[in-house]
């Protein structure tokens, strides 16, 4: 296959028009010594039938995808309404470029504007951008914005932030600019955060819910951060925000978070081995000129009709080069579109119902597990959709046993830390039926037998 529509005769005519005797004459600037002598060592060409066979076999080798999933940890198995796929897979959206010519990109631009509006409402912030790569880099960009905005360098990070997000922060920022606050019982104690604060701190980053699914009290952290002259950055789950008071909202005289960011995969996007993902980024209007990434705005055309364009591009790399607010050139357009369709379909009522089902089902599962000998919740405190179970044997063993019964019982936290080797992080979404939760509990019971 080549996807090229061209005959030899056409090639001959084209070369004639160009005025060269052969194709090789076009490559005169390429030093002869660097031309590839032999063909590339790559298999193919494969026909569609062969591709299907090959990729079908690889897809089937992913055993995990056949199980009822209780996996989460930043990537969730939420229901995706059929209309999301039907609409988002349309060529008109999927094969369009970045909307730099707004007159022929009103579809993408309107959807981005709606995405920004929905994310702003969900997070309780004034504005949101057109999306970023993923939750981890959205967190990094928030930390960078806070540094620029405050002129301070150090970033205080709650130890209950996703371990991968902490790793990505370490990749982007120098070690001396990061202070991680260890958790106590799965939560970040305000007095520990207090100790980490100082006049050089640009922001306090925490997650809501946190990595263990727990709901810490965000406003205590906002107060500490603001008293120290730092910004408060909340890393949030969008499904949870349909139910919980958004951290952007002020409460009882305490200001809200200054930046609300997070991972939007759970809004109508499949897990897909963790990517592509969907970073979202929301802030107050006062910070919009420091915001990274693309922004759509409403305007009018020559005839006075409403339309949308990309705006404030003078923040961006293609105009400002080394003075840009970030080096980001893309957004996750198609995933943001899926999220917009998802939020549009689920609407006011559906969003809240999904969140409530997650609470009811995950708490039910936690109660069942607590009755199984050898298992107990590792932490106290309220949780959303996700909780940590301490197992009577290694979580890896439990996963192996349960998988034989068609259940992926949770994320083995032993992969993050030896100290967590008996911890299983269990997520229960609206997708899991009561019967699957029963089977999950049975699998845990079986895995735990004889361990104590």
């Amino acid at each position: 296959m080549s996807y090229v529509g061209r005959t030899r005769e056409e090639e001959r005519r084209m070369l004639e028009k160009i005025g060269v005797p052969s194709f090789e004459a076009l490559l005169e600037a390429v030093p002869a010594g660097v031309r590839l002598k032999s063909g590339l060592g790559i298999e193919g060409p494969l026909s569609e039938i062969e591709l299907r066979r090959r990729f079908g076999a690889w897809a089937a080798a992913n055993e995990g995808a056949r199980c009822a999933s209780f996996l989460g940890a930043g990537c969730y198995d939420h229901y995706i309404p059929a209309a999301v796929n039907a609409l988002a897979q349309r060529s008109e959206f999927a094969t369009a470029y970045t909307p730099y010519q707004p007159e022929v990109a009103q579809g993408s631009l309107t959807a981005i504007f709606e995405f920004q509006s929905l994310i702003a409402e969900l997070t309780g912030m004034e504005v949101a951008n057109a999306s970023l790569y993923d939750g981890a880099t959205a967190t990094v960009e928030a930390a960078l914005l806070a540094r620029h905005s405050t002129g301070r360098s150090r970033v205080v990070v709650a130890g209950t932030l996703h371990p991968h997000y902490r790793e990505v922060l370490r990749t982007y920022l120098e070690d001396r600019a990061l202070s991680f606050v260890a958790d106590r019982g799965g939560q970040c104690a305000p007095e520990d955060v207090q100790l980490a604060l100082g006049p050089d701190v640009a922001c306090v980053v925490y997650s809501y819910p946190n990595f263990f699914g727990l709901l810490e009290s965000p406003h205590a952290l906002h107060r500490l951060a603001h008293d120290a002259g730092a910004l408060a950055v909340a890393v949030c789950d969008p499904i949870a925000l349909a139910l919980l008071e958004p951290p952007g909202a002020a409460r009882d005289g305490v200001t809200g978070a200054d930046l609300v960011v997070g991972e939007g995969q759970s809004l109508g996007n499949p897990p897909s081995f963790g990517g592509p993902a969907l970073g979202f980024f929301a802030c107050p209007e006062t910070l919009v000129r420091r915001m990274p990434g693309r922004l759509a705005a409403a305007t009018v055309d020559k005839a006075g009709r409403r339309g949308f364009v990309l705006t404030l591009q003078t923040r961006e790399q293609h105009i400002r080069r080394e003075k840009a607010t970030s080096n980001i050139c893309t957004n996750q357009g198609l995933l943001a579109l899926r999220a917009t369709i998802y939020m549009g379909l689920m609407g006011k009522q559906g969003m809240r119902e999904v969140a409530e089902l997650c609470v009811q089902k995950s708490h039910h599962a936690a109660e069942l597990a607590a009755r199984i000998p050898g298992y107990r919740r590792a932490h106290e405190g309220p949780f959303f959709r996700e909780f940590v179970l301490e197992c009577p044997r290694s979580a890896a063993d439990v996963v192996r046993t349960a998988r034989r019964r068609g259940i992926d019982p949770g994320v083995d936290l032993g992969q993050f830390s030896e100290a967590w080797r008996r911890w299983l992080l269990v997520a229960v979404t609206e997708q899991r039926s009561a019967e699957e939760i029963e089977r999950w509990a049975e699998a845990l019971r079986e895995a735990g037998e004889g361990a104590r």
Partner: protein, 497 residues
């Protein structure tokens, strides 16, 4: 009634809803008992719209977009080529779509195999020894590459000293922006007459403070650097690393391997060269290919194979760390691998050859009508200048807008910065001779209009869903969400023509 096209929030109303959810089949407890002490939100001002109306809304929006399945997209440096449909289907196979990134190596052998295979074929295509597929986009690939360069200098005790990156003035804006992200300094060197890197200018700036030289090959004028081997040798002699911006790789596949030009590393935009859909602005993916000496610094985790079994290796003490929440844009990587295997070595070479032929053909067809500042044979793209139209009061922007009326997307305009009134045109291998001729005729007609009826161009476009939009007003008013105002005119709009 307002006849303007409506946003989601302007449709439906209280009580309207989309798909239903099943009733809760586990014992329900009051939320206050489930979540003691947690404040729940009082309001969620989301749209309330029925499924048929949501479907109509997005179908209506979709019809307003230009896209590659509809027509020509000659965007320079963006490589808008056909997106084969089979690749989307393969990425959507449940075994991939439902695979969880933390399910563990045993349960993820298929996904790891795709990543491993893609890394292998990308290394083969680029002539490097290893590849990371974690970066989400080209710009993140650049940043990851610079981090690896920094780690390499540090490993040699030169990390503090080497903090400058030399970049030609013709480079993509992401290059200096990525350098800035590391807190390093960009040193811009002027291009010489034919926009090639000027070895003398380079020599003046190269010293023991230089961390890297970043180059785009072919450069942003679509020209191959004739003295590239000399340039990379000079950089290495000064102790610097040489980074290739791979945005223009579509000119080289199967013809030249950047690893053999003396580069130490490069990023690859799979959404350009390897046909993954642009999605209206993403997701893309920006794998980075590196020479052997940079392998220890690759982001973690790295996929390794032992006895036919794949696993993710995290223990890499010299690694720059992780750059993605999980394993990169996996669904995009599946598509890129499918594309490469569907073409095979012969098909890949045919891609580059056809892309080069198409660009040269169009360039010669348009050379008499628009100014061609660099008359050499080009690679996969070329740059024209709209300067000759200036005497009629017409700018390149007006040409771009008028093109839209003919069902053609505009080229990249006003880039590279070194050409005035630039029109950067990349036809890609996708376009047939017939399409190229159509585009050439349209461009020639527009030039004639500029002479005979310039107002026509200043007022364009006419046939698009909206007329020219007021970008200045957008930036002044900053209506970024519907809560801040939707820009909906207060009065009834004029009836549409």
């Amino acid at each position: 009634m307002n006849l303007e096209r409506r946003l989601l929030t302007e449709q439906g109303g209280p009580g309207h809803r989309g798909p239903e959810l099943p009733a809760c089949d586990v014992p329900v407890q009051p939320l206050a008992d489930r979540l003691p002490g947690v404040r729940l939100r009082e309001r969620l001002e989301f749209p309330e719209v029925s499924e048929p109306e949501v479907v109509r809304h997005f179908i209506e929006l979709s019809a307003l977009n230009h896209h590659i399945d509809r027509g020509f997209y000659p965007l320079g440096s963006c490589t808008m080529k056909h997106n084969p449909k089979i690749n989307d289907e393969l990425a959507s196979l449940p075994g991939f779509a439902l695979s969880h990134p933390l399910a563990g190596d045993d349960a993820s052998q298929g996904s790891l195999r795709v990543i491993r295979e893609l890394q292998r074929v990308l290394a083969e295509i680029t002539g490097f020894s290893a590849v990371t597929t974690q970066p989400s986009a080209g710009a993140q690939g650049e940043m990851t590459g610079l981090l690896m360069i920094r780690a390499w200098h540090r490993s040699r005790g030169e990390g503090e000293k080497r903090r400058r990156v030399i970049i030609p003035d013709s480079a993509h804006g992401t290059n200096p922006a990525s350098v800035n992200l590391l807190g390093w300094e960009t040193v811009t060197i002027p291009s010489e007459e034919h926009a090639a890197v000027n070895p003398e200018a380079l020599a003046r700036e190269l010293d023991d403070r230089t961390a890297a030289v970043m180059l785009t090959v072919p450069n942003t004028l679509g020209l191959f650097e004739p003295r590239i081997l000399e340039v990379t040798r000079m950089a290495h002699a000064a102790g610097a690393q040489v980074y290739m911006d791979g945005a223009n790789l579509n000119a080289l596949v199967g013809l030249v391997r950047p690893g053999e030009l003396g580069f130490d590393l490069m990023h690859i935009n799979v959404h350009k060269t390897f046909s993954t859909p642009h999605g209206g602005g993403g997701p893309g993916a920006g794998p980075v290919a590196v020479a052997r000496h940079l392998e220890p610094f690759l982001p973690v985790p790295v996929v390794v194979e032992q006895g036919g079994r794949l696993r993710l290796e995290h223990e890499r003490p010299q690694s720059v760390g992780r750059v993605h929440s999980f394993h990169g844009n996996f669904g995009i990587l599946v598509r890129a691998l499918a594309y490469i295997l569907s073409l095979g070595p012969g098909g890949l070479e045919r891609v580059s050859r056809t892309a080069i032929l198409n660009a040269n053909y169009l360039m010669r067809r348009l050379a008499g009508t628009y100014e061609l500042p660099h008359p050499e044979h080009c690679m996969h793209e070329f740059v024209l200048s709209g300067r000759p139209l200036r005497k009629y009061g017409v700018k390149t922007l007006d040409v771009a807008k008028r093109l839209l009326d003919f069902g053609v997307h505009a080229p990249t305009v006003y880039f590279p910065l070194i050409v005035e009134e630039a029109l950067m045109i990349e036809p890609t291998e996708t376009e047939t001779l017939d399409r190229l001729d159509h585009f050439a005729e349209v461009m020639i007609r527009i030039a004639a209009e500029a002479r005979e009826n310039p107002q026509q161009l200043l007022d364009a476009p006419f046939a698009t869903p909206v007329r020219r939009l007021d970008e200045g007003r957008a930036a002044r008013e900053l209506k970024l969400t519907w809560a801040l105002g939707t820009g909906r005119p207060a009065a009834e709009p004029a009836a549409r023509p």
